[in-house]
């Protein structure tokens, strides 16, 4: 019996020589011949010319040389505009609810129970506050941006965007569908990384995963807007400030897109040169989007992701943030040790120790970088009259207050510019890093996606800082 089994395997090995290398081709031909026969007997097409007439007409417009790109940009602009406008109010509401009222209630509750101060600080000022911050900043834009995107997807428009954009991405060694995963990245990099599943070519998918972080995600927009308004807007007369600072933010986002294309090109020519690459882009028929169902599933899905992220990643980060500001050795807090140690290097790249510390402990979420910086600035310089205490993140009530605070911390225009650059070019947040690992199952690619942007960020900030000082 055993011999017989071995014999069959052996027989197959020998037959392989006779059949030749390309029997797969002839097999596929046989299958399609058979399929053709069956279709001839069973399928009847009335009026073939007018089948998919609507699709054809619509495709003519959305892929037209003159109208294709304008339609695409207008649609994307509308999606972003609705997201920004629509999330403003719910964000404020959530913030005043979670960071304001509920926080106060929790504090009051813990006081009434006489819970030791360090437990109260660690859990409520640290963990809870970070979690609340992430939810209020992240949830509203996610809940608006993704359903809109999903509606476009459901309708069948997104593959047409990939079709239109493919020329640009082909030149960068990437897949046209990367245009979409990049756009998703403007909402959330982790979601963008998951979206790369639609790219079925291994090399192009890896490129899309590694470069997704160059899309400025919604956790980073508020930082960009705040810093641009204070430092860039402050350089010009008040009536131009709005336009100029908005321009600076868009400029950073565009820089991100350009860098992502350049990096894609570089990756496809070097480390990813050998990965297998195929191309096909199916343009499915248009289908009426199911608005209610999409809104429902998308909302539920995204809300769950945000909550999960807040609990798994932001809460521990909050614990760390509170701890470094409150644990003292020989009367100096851990935060101060780190800040003093890294300051010379940070100055060299035009930032400061506080910013770098904030980026280290706020890996989990870009949303809490600014509150952390503000808190650390107050604690480190021992400023009075502002802030909520060591380890308690806060936001000031007005821009001018923030500006004063930062200037007291030694910030200049250069610090502002470099912070904007560094906010674009640093490691992905830990949710994204985790997602990249889940999607690639490779430590190598996860490490590359993590360290490539941070090295680029440090180099760019260094060059800007040094050249700035030359003049």
């Amino acid at each position: 019996m055993v011999n017989k089994k071995e014999e069959i395997v052996e027989l197959a090995n020998n037959l392989r020589w006779e059949v030749g290398g390309n029997f797969h081709d002839s097999l596929m031909e046989s299958i399609y011949k058979e399929a053709g026969d069956i279709v001839k007997k069973t399928v009847r097409k009335k009026d073939e010319k007018h089948a998919f007439g609507f699709d054809k007409k619509l495709d003519k417009i959305v892929t037209n040389k003159w109208t294709g790109f304008p339609i695409m940009f207008i649609l994307l602009a509308i999606v972003f505009w609705i997201t920004v406008q629509g999330s403003n109010y719910p964000s404020q509401l959530l913030s005043s609810l979670l960071v304001g009222d509920l926080y106060e209630t929790l504090k009051g509750f813990s006081h009434s129970l006489a819970i030791p101060q360090w437990i109260d600080g660690l859990l409520i000022d640290g963990g809870y506050l970070a979690m609340a911050w992430v939810i209020s900043v992240m949830l509203p834009p996610m809940a608006i941006f993704f359903p809109l995107f999903t509606l476009l997807e459901d309708f069948g428009y997104l593959p047409r965007v990939a079709f239109n954009m493919d020329s640009l991405f082909r030149k960068a060694g990437a897949h046209g569908k990367q245009a979409l995963t990049m756009s998703m990245g403007f909402g959330c990099n982790a979601a963008g990384v998951i979206a790369t599943r639609v790219i079925d070519s291994p090399r192009e998918r890896l490129i899309a995963i590694i470069t997704n972080n160059f899309s400025l995600c919604n956790g980073r927009w508020p930082t960009q807007i705040l810093i641009a308004t204070i430092f860039i807007g402050g350089l010009v007369p008040a009536n131009l400030a709005g336009i100029i600072s908005a321009g600076a933010v868009v400029g950073v986002a565009v820089l991100g897109v350009v860098l992502s294309l350049i990096t894609s090109w570089g990756l496809s020519k070097t480390v990813l040169k050998g990965e297998a690459s195929t191309f096909n882009l199916e343009l499915p028929p248009y289908r009426p989007p199911r608005v209610l169902q999409t809104l429902y599933t998308s909302l539920i899905d995204r809300t769950l992701i945000v909550l999960w992220r807040a609990i798994v990643f932001a809460f521990p980060a909050g614990l760390v943030i509170w701890s470094v500001a409150n644990i003292h050795i020989d009367g100096i807090s851990l935060a101060d040790y780190f800040i003093n140690w890294i300051d010379p290097f940070a100055i060299l790249i035009g930032l400061n120790g506080i910013i770098l510390l904030a980026y280290v402990i706020a890996i989990p979420a870009n949303e809490i970088v600014i509150p952390t910086i503000l808190m650390l600035t107050v604690v480190h310089f021992g400023l009075h009259g502002v802030g909520a205490g060591a380890g308690v993140m806060f936001q000031t009530d007005s821009l001018s207050a923030t500006k004063q605070l930062l200037e007291a911390g030694g910030w200049t225009v250069l610090t502002g510019v470099n912070l904007m650059l560094f906010s674009l070019l640093h490691n992905p947040c830990s949710t994204t890093i985790y997602t990249i690992y889940e999607e690639t199952k490779s430590i190598k690619w996860t490490a590359l996606s993590t360290f490539l942007p941070i090295v680029m960020g440090i180099v760019l900030c260094f060059l800007v800082a040094q050249i700035w000082q030359l003049f």
Partner: protein, 341 residues
Amino acid sequence: MNPQTALLIFGMGMLLVMFLFYPEKGIYYRWKKAILSTERVLIEDALKHLYDCEYRKVNCTLQSIAGNLEISSDKAAKLVQRLESLRLITSENSNLFLTPDGRSYALRVIRVHRLWEKFLADETSVPEIDWHTQAELKEHKLTPAQANALAAKIGNPVIDPHGDPIPTSEGNLPEHVGVLLTTLKTNDVAIITHIEDEPKTIYSQIIALGLHPGMQIRVIENSQTRIVFDAEGDEKILAPSFAANITVELIRDEEEIQKEFNTLSNLKPGEKAEVIRISNALRGQQRRRLMDLGVVPGTIISAEMVNPSGDLIAYRIKDAVIALRKNQTDHIFVKNIEDND
């Protein structure tokens, strides 16, 4: 630190990194290459060379080993001594021969080499010109068990991408078939079955002409100085010394000769065509995916629309609209058909 110094130090650092890690010329790569040149590598390369001589039925000597491995005669002499003491080769009037052990060792190395080339061709995007070089490194690293695992992973292939047969794990290798391109007469039609990948200078020029195994050629002129032939619609000219590196198999059956070499990339929106064949230049995943989508001989394809930049065309294939890039459609042979409705 003042900015000038900082920038200067940074620039020097960058130069140093370049110097260390520059692809193929940097210190790191040279060092990696150097440590590979061990005794095992020399032994295996010598055996491969001797096997090659045996296969081509020519005699090999100590000098030819020295030349082939690019080592000094002294070193080659020591190597031959070592091989003899290992009973892998025997010598007779300064001619060297493989013992049965030596032959099976050589075939094991060749098996890994060709398997790896096949793997690179089908499962990766490594360019053709690098297959051989990478396989030269890999062949010394894999154990027989690893080679079998590799073979299994890529479906136990029998022919490598250059058209060479891959020895089985038992060391069986079929006889070489086919004739050299130089022996063809005018108007002969043949299929390229093998392109010799050594020496690299000649191979790279053949590759640059776009020739590959599986290609159909028709000889236009064959003289002392040059051989001119039509390769799937394009005229190519080779010197006889180059053409001698190409093996072909004559097609005698008139039916099997493909006459039209129009490609899908020439199809304009609104036109229809029938697929004749996918060129062998499309390999591995690319080829399989195209066939999965229905691009097989006999399929009717119509060009539907062009993207705004004019360089990506979407085709209707079996009722689905699928965009394919030019580097794919260049390799799909079609014949145009009249739109009859």
